[in-house]
């Protein structure tokens, strides 16, 4: 069965869609009350964020638009030192989408939410004319467990940890689009375990950021600018799988600028670097974590290359497109 405009009418079909797809998958007491707004009990200090998701193709190796929509918002809360509690989900569905497809997406969101220990407590659906696309907005609330974790709080002498391999989400999506066969999976994942382990073991996290669009280069450039410091990273320490490297060679892409959906960087005091790294590696999705650099005086991001040269790393300009030249 396909979604048609009637599913957005607010009448019978809308109600069917909500009950048979969303309530079934997101099942929780707050949502099931079906009030106009969810009533929530939260600690006084919260982190609150929103993000919209557009992915082509909607389903890819390692995830789908639903999983990304949950993980993206969850990770944005986590890197602020907050434990994610509640999400809302807004769907804009183009007519022609199979109801089964929406069900698959909702199921995947439900699984990701369970893993991240968040509840989807409010939602909305609109149907528009189009060619079978789905767009999702999620907003999230998390309880602040550690105040002061901030992009502008990197301090001199801090080391920078990266939670795992670069470029896998981007490479997985691109492989699909370019018809290149490989086993690269999107890294799309909620990073709760990593953040929780760092915080509960008293790692003094100064700054955390999830590494998404624009890649590591863009995130580090933003951190250096916000914290008025320089960042030095080491090419040899960057975790990148051979398969992603090969993929980048084919299309002339740079893993430093490729999107990830389940990676974060953290700036922590030097004397805690070893402990923090060990904690990350013990956490789910953190097994390939590395110390990749440090905070220095000055400005901008520099990379010490494999040949021991130095290279300036800037933010991404425009879109990273496959090149032949």
């Amino acid at each position: 069965m396909k979604i048609d405009m009637a599913y957005g009418s607010g009448g019978r079909q809308t109600s069917d869609l909500i009950h048979e797809v969303f309530l079934k998958n997101f099942d929780n007491k707050i949502l099931c009350k079906m009030e106009d707004a969810a009533v929530l009990q939260v600690n006084p200090k919260i982190a609150y964020t929103t993000d919209s998701f557009v992915v082509t193709p909607m389903f890819f190796k390692g995830g789908d638009i639903g999983k990304v929509a949950v993980c993206g918002t969850v990770n944005d809360l986590l890197v602020m030192g907050a434990m994610p509690k509640y999400l809302t989900a807004g769907f804009i569905i183009e007519e022609g989408v199979e109801i089964d497809t929406i069900d698959r997406i909702a199921k995947s969101m439900s699984l990701a939410a369970k893993e991240a220990k968040v509840r989807i407590v409010a939602g909305d659906t609109k149907v528009i004319e189009g060619k079978g696309g789905v767009y999702i907005n999620t907003s999230g609330i998390g309880e602040i467990r550690r105040a002061g974790v901030s992009i502008s709080n990197c301090r001199l002498g801090d080391v920078i940890l990266l939670s795992g391999n670069l470029g896998e989400h981007h490479a997985s999506i691109m492989s699909h689009r370019m018809g290149i066969e490989n086993s690269i999976q999107s890294d799309c994942a909620p990073l709760r375990s990593i953040v929780k382990n760092l915080m509960e073991n008293n790692i003094k996290i100064h700054c955390m950021r999830d590494v998404t669009r624009g890649g590591l280069a863009t995130v580090l450039s933003e951190a250096a600018a916000s914290s008025s410091c320089a960042i030095e990273i080491y090419e040899k320490s960057l975790p990148i799988s051979d398969q992603v490297r090969g993929f980048c060679d084919i299309l002339g892409l740079d893993p430093l600028y490729m999107a990830n959906e389940g990676k974060l960087i953290a700036a922590v005091p030097k004397d805690q670097a070893g402990k923090a790294l060990a904690l990350m590696r013990r956490s789910k999705y953190g097994e390939n974590a590395q110390v990749i650099g440090k905070i220095k005086e000055g400005s901008g991001v520099t990379m010490i290359t494999s040949l021991n040269g130095s290279r300036i790393i800037d933010i991404l300009y425009g879109e990273g497109l496959p090149r032949i030249c």
Binding site: D254, N308, I312, R323
Partner: protein
């Protein structure tokens, strides 16, 4: 016989006369930055970028033509990702797409043939840009077009040959001391083509691959030749580059293409430096020859000097002040491989 450490040591401590080396190919320029090569060599050795970036030397009139096709009914422009950001006299293909134009990015010209077969109601225009390396591929694409009787796929060509451009650079007495020859062009042309040039112009011509080690070795070889005052072609990319090149590639190129005087953005016309589809295949050409190349060089833009290696991007008055990657005035800022674009992103490395 040397080692990496010895070469690095020699290049870092070189204190002879100032040497200007032109890396002709944009992929070399990119590799030089990615590996931080400039920080590894003496300031007495200057690496300057040449005209080997198709995005930088493709004239605005060509982009305008693509844009025109992109917004035309039932027409689709097919291009490599490289050309998306280059601005014509008004728009880039990225902007044309935003205006509703039909533009698709491809990795291989073979997909173009497939698309044309699958959708006979759309006219496909392939943006055939590039150098000696890519031309034989366009020739094979032509073979497929003929074999399948495809009528809805045409080429808009802007194909350059790098060798006449190198001769031009040598003839115009630009003070370039040596050339780092384009590795992948050389795979097709063979490295012997540089032998005569090295002799005639009395300069080192060194062929190298694209790893950082290749480039360090090539620079070291150039310094060695200059020290010895003996100039010749040296091939350091022996895994892939042979003396005579790929003959099959040359033969199929000759079957479909013939030489023309070609316009290089920022430089002007260089004799016999381009290729066009032969007259018998003109029905597969999307109007490449009717382009009016007059371009209004933006006031103050020094791209020509940059492409010719006369100045560094930092010496242009517009660099970083008016001209930035998000508001590129000249072609060299547009491309990820353009000298100015690369310098901008790496601006603090060394002036």
């Amino acid at each position: 016989m040397k080692t990496l450490e010895l070469v690095k040591d020699e290049l870092k401590n070189y204190n002879g006369r100032k040497i200007k080396i032109m890396e002709v190919c944009g992929t070399h320029t990119s590799s030089i930055f990615k590996n931080g090569i400039r920080s590894l060599i003496s300031p007495q050795i200057q690496l300057i970028s040449g005209p080997g970036c198709p995005v930088c030397v493709t004239p605005p009139a060509y982009i305008d033509k693509l844009v025109e096709y992109a917004v035309r009914e039932k027409t689709c422009v097919l291009t490599f990702g490289d050309m998306m950001k280059v601005k014509g006299s008004r728009y880039s293909l990225t902007q044309a797409k935003a205006e509703g134009g039909n533009v698709k990015i491809l990795y291989s010209p073979l997909s173009a043939v497939k698309m044309a077969l699958e959708d006979k109601n759309t006219e496909f225009i392939f943006a055939a840009v590039g150098f000696e390396t890519t031309t034989p591929i366009y020739a094979l694409m032509m073979e497929e077009i003929l074999k399948n009787g495809i009528k809805n796929l045409k080429l808009l060509t802007s194909i350059k040959i790098i060798l006449p451009a190198l001769s031009y650079l040598c003839e115009t007495k630009e003070n370039i001391d040596a050339f780092l020859c384009p590795g992948h062009v050389s795979v097709v042309t063979g490295c012997s083509v540089y032998k005569g040039m090295a002799e005639k112009y009395h300069k080192p011509f060194v062929v190298a691959g694209f790893e950082g080690e290749h480039i360090l070795a090539a620079v070291d070889e150039i310094i060695h030749q200059i020290k010895k005052n003996r100039y010749y072609m040296k091939n350091l990319y022996t895994s892939s580059v042979t003396e005579e090149g790929n003959r099959k590639a040359a033969a199929i190129t000759d079957k479909f293409f013939e030489g023309i005087d070609e316009y290089w953005r920022g430089i002007g016309i260089i004799r016999n430096s381009g290729l066009k589809l032969k007259d018998v295949y003109q029905e597969y050409d999307a109007g490449s020859r009717i382009l009016d190349y007059t371009e209004n060089v933006p006031k103050g833009c020094k791209c020509k000097e940059v492409i010719l290696g006369r100045i560094n991007p930092g010496d242009c008055p517009l660099f970083k002040t008016v001209c930035t990657p998000l508001n590129a005035v000249g072609p060299c800022m547009v491309s990820a491989e353009g000298a100015c674009g690369i310098w901008y992103k790496n601006r603090e490395v060394r002036p």
